[in-house]
């Protein structure tokens, strides 16, 4: 695997492989000294055009635990002139000698474009509404950890599907691993076409809740009100918010998930967010291990990086 640009490019066995690798890094994270020298001497660069504390910190922690060096190219909105040459920026970074570039951008497709211009590995940390593959991986890992397997698991994804890269990545990941996915959203917040999406759709959260094992809540953003997609936030919460009353409809073992940050009182009631069945903290914790697995897979596990084999005398066997 050279890049991680989207879940759409991966098949079930590749997903399983990454989740399996994550088990190892969960163990590493439990050690007294939770650090391995695996990516010593490798450099990972953060190219974050969009603000994101939690994803960035998670990747940063993952890189450090693998002993990789990190470079930071966080572009603040004032320092970027709109349309500043992306290609120039990326080629400059590569010239400094990096092995991987982790890209987050407000425009769909930027990580894919970047991967065409550099020889380093590219990781998509979120691009516009398109994909957020590491989020989907940690979501899958958390579901497996909590419920054992994704095969046959019934998952409801609730909220602004149309504008959500998390929703897209999750739909591909969950269904590839055998889950049954139902989208619950007001019609204005569904994508213009669901052709080819292996999902069911239901407008009624109340109807869906008793029959799912996982409720996955998406953030409801204020901007949707100004675009005339929703009349009011209050209406959204009344019909699609996970209130205390709604949580009580859930099966006993059903869990509640959220990619964060949560809007308490909007898509999730404040007291619901703190229930034991809300596993948001587990998602965050697993996020570091998942990102370690991804970085390791791209830079250690599958790739042979020596360009001139004659320069290095590699022993035949390594026992």
């Amino acid at each position: 695997m050279k890049h991680l640009l989207g879940i759409a490019d991966l098949d079930a066995s590749e997903l399983d492989h990454l989740l399996g690798l994550t088990d190892h890094f969960v163990e590493v994270s439990r050690r007294r000294m939770p650090k391995v020298p695996a990516l010593q001497g490798r450099t990972v660069c953060w190219l974050f055009y969009e603000d994101s504390t939690r994803t960035k910190l998670s990747f940063e922690q993952a890189a450090k635990r693998l002993s990789a060096d990190t470079l930071n190219f966080t572009v603040s909105s004032s320092s970027v002139r709109k349309g500043e040459s992306l290609r120039d920026t990326v080629e400059t970074i590569e010239a400094m000698g990096v092995d991987a570039i982790v890209v987050r951008h407000g425009s769909a497709g930027v990580p894919t474009q970047v991967s065409r211009w550099v020889s380093a590995s590219v990781v998509n940390a979120g691009d516009g509404w398109h994909e957020h593959p590491t989020q989907a991986l940690l979501d899958c890992y958390t579901i497996r950890e909590q419920l054992g397997s994704l095969d046959g698991t019934r998952i409801a994804i609730v909220g602004d599907i149309a504008h959500s890269r998390v929703a897209r990545s999750d739909v591909w990941a969950f269904t590839k691993l055998g889950a049954e996915v139902t989208l619950v959203a007001p019609t204005t917040l569904l994508p213009p076409s669901l052709d080819g999406w292996p999902v069911r759709v239901d407008q009624s959260l109340d109807r869906v809740l008793p029959h799912v094992d996982v409720v996955y809540l998406l953030r409801m953003q204020q901007e949707r009100m100004t675009e005339a997609l929703l009349p009011t936030l209050r209406e959204y919460t009344a019909r699609w918010g996970l209130t205390r009353r709604r949580v009580d409809q859930l099966a006993e073992k059903a869990i509640v998930m959220h990619p964060g940050p949560m809007n308490r009182g909007v898509e999730i009631a404040a007291d619901v967010a703190d229930l034991p069945r809300a596993v948001v903290i587990d998602q965050v914790r697993n996020g570091v291990a998942v990102r370690m697995a991804v970085l390791y897979e791209l830079l250690g596990a599958g790739s042979i990086v020596v360009t001139d084999p004659k320069e290095i005398r590699v022993p035949e066997v390594n026992t």
Binding site: A8, D88, Q113, R116, H130, R165, R168
Partner: protein, 429 residues
């Protein structure tokens, strides 16, 4: 200029009247004879046309030459050269330059820059000042300078009342109003076709209705005002069906379609390469089929390239920030020959005679290939197989969506007023 006498030998002459094997002799910028076995005199330039079609030079009613204002992407000179290599002897420049072509001064500048290039460069002018959609341009004055086509291309005229007034005024001047059909209220924020692909990719799209609503509107206004209306770059099955019906009802409207709209679908956007970003956007397979059918049955009058050069760094921006537009002049013929199910005679209609009629240059361009006519011709080898190489194009820019594609059909020679501006596939100046 002292033009040599030219004889085009061994080709098959094709024009509106049909096909025949014949040589063509040219002197003083005009065709002097079209017959078999014309013997060239000593000193005459002989252009070999064995295996080739000899056709009236093509006419592109829709090309962005970027001058004045964006010369790093293209100049009138480089655009004219690209056109000649594509078999075009006449092109009409679009007015979305900086400044816009909305006044006599800029019209004169463009025409002046176009003189002495290897193509007959005409220009359209904007319908509204600055293409801002508020105030009409001095159409009568500009018509006197030779402008036959008015369009705000790059955008459509949004204000219905203004469009009605423009049509009424234009009818009195016997000029054609061309519309880039795009309802901005519906298309706003859309960077590709709204549909299955855009939903999967997470790119905001514009629905087919953004184009169709304005087609519907302008057909109604054309009926109301009696103006001559030409619909630019139609891309949806719905638009084409409406124009077909309007024509069937006797309305004097014409329309064009681009090569990219009869060959590419929105699936091409899956790799997020802005080379495939264009306005109107690439649509679905059903729309592509409708465009081909429209070209075959005559509902679509002509092929227009909508040649839209952009400097490489512009097309290397994120998909939603990159400007829309694709090159077209050098690939139109090859795409038409490779992908359209039409006869050479129909091809002449689509590429040459019909567009010439729409912009009023039928005296000089569009055929027939007959003694007395101006020698604006192209010689095409329909069997020549070639691969599109973005770096080998004469255009200043590289944004062709057809890079790497294998095409059948290449221009061998192009003659402008009797001068071979392209010989054996090479531009002569």
């Amino acid at each position: 200029m002292n033009l040599p006498k030219v004889v085009i030998r061994g080709g098959r002459v094709v024009d509106r009247s049909g096909e025949r094997t014949a040589d063509v002799a040219i002197d003083g910028g005009r065709i002097v004879a079209v017959d078999t076995n014309l013997a060239p005199g000593s000193g005459d330039l002989v252009l070999d046309a064995a295996g080739c079609l000899v056709m009236p030079g093509f006419v592109d009613v829709h090309a962005h030459l970027r001058q004045p204002g964006k010369e790093e992407a293209e100049t009138i000179e480089t655009g004219a050269r690209a056109a000649a290599l594509g078999g075009y002897t006449c092109i009409v420049a679009m007015p979305n330059t900086t400044p816009a072509i909305d006044s006599a001064g800029v019209v004169r500048e463009v025409l002046e820059l176009g003189r002495d290039t290897c193509c007959d460069v005409r220009t359209s002018a904007a319908i509204t000042v600055g293409r801002a959609g508020q105030q009409l341009t001095p159409m009568a004055e500009l018509a006197e300078l030779g402008v036959r086509l008015f369009t705000d291309d790059g955008s459509g005229v949004q204000d219905v009342r203004l469009m009605r007034r423009a049509m009424e005024y234009a009818r009195g001047l016997d000029v054609t109003l061309a519309q880039h059909c795009e309802d901005e209220a519906l298309s706003a924020g859309g960077h590709m076709n709204e549909g299955v692909v855009s939903a999967r990719l997470g790119i905001p799209g514009q629905p087919a209705e953004a184009e169709e609503l304005m087609v519907m509107r302008d057909i109604a206004l054309a009926r109301l005002t009696g103006a001559k209306v030409h619909f630019q770059h139609l891309s949806t099955a719905g638009s084409i069906a409406m124009v077909r019906a309007a024509k069937g009802g006797g309305l004097n409207v014409t329309c064009e379609a681009t090569p990219h709209h009869f060959t590419l679908t929105d699936e091409r956007c899956s790799g997020f390469d802005p080379v495939f970003k264009v306005n109107p956007p690439l649509r679905t397979a059903g729309d592509v089929a409708a465009v081909r059918a429209g070209l075959a049955d005559g509902s679509i009058d002509c092929i227009a390239t909508d040649h839209a050069p952009h400097a490489p760094e512009e097309k290397e921006r994120p998909f939603d920030q990159a400007p829309p537009g694709m090159l077209g002049l050098e690939t139109a013929l090859g795409l038409a020959l490779t992908h359209l199910d039409v006869t050479p005679g129909q091809l002449v209609g689509l590429l040459s005679s019909r567009p010439a009629a729409i912009v009023g240059v039928s005296e000089q361009h569009g055929g027939p290939v007959a003694a007395g006519r101006p020698a604006n011709l192209c010689v095409v080898d329909p069997a020549a197989s070639w691969a599109v190489d973005a770096d080998a194009l004469a255009s200043r820019s590289r944004n062709t969506p057809f890079a790497g594609m294998k095409l059948n059909g290449q221009v061998r020679h192009t003659l402008l007023w009797g001068e071979p501006v392209v010989r054996d596939g090479e531009a002569q100046r």
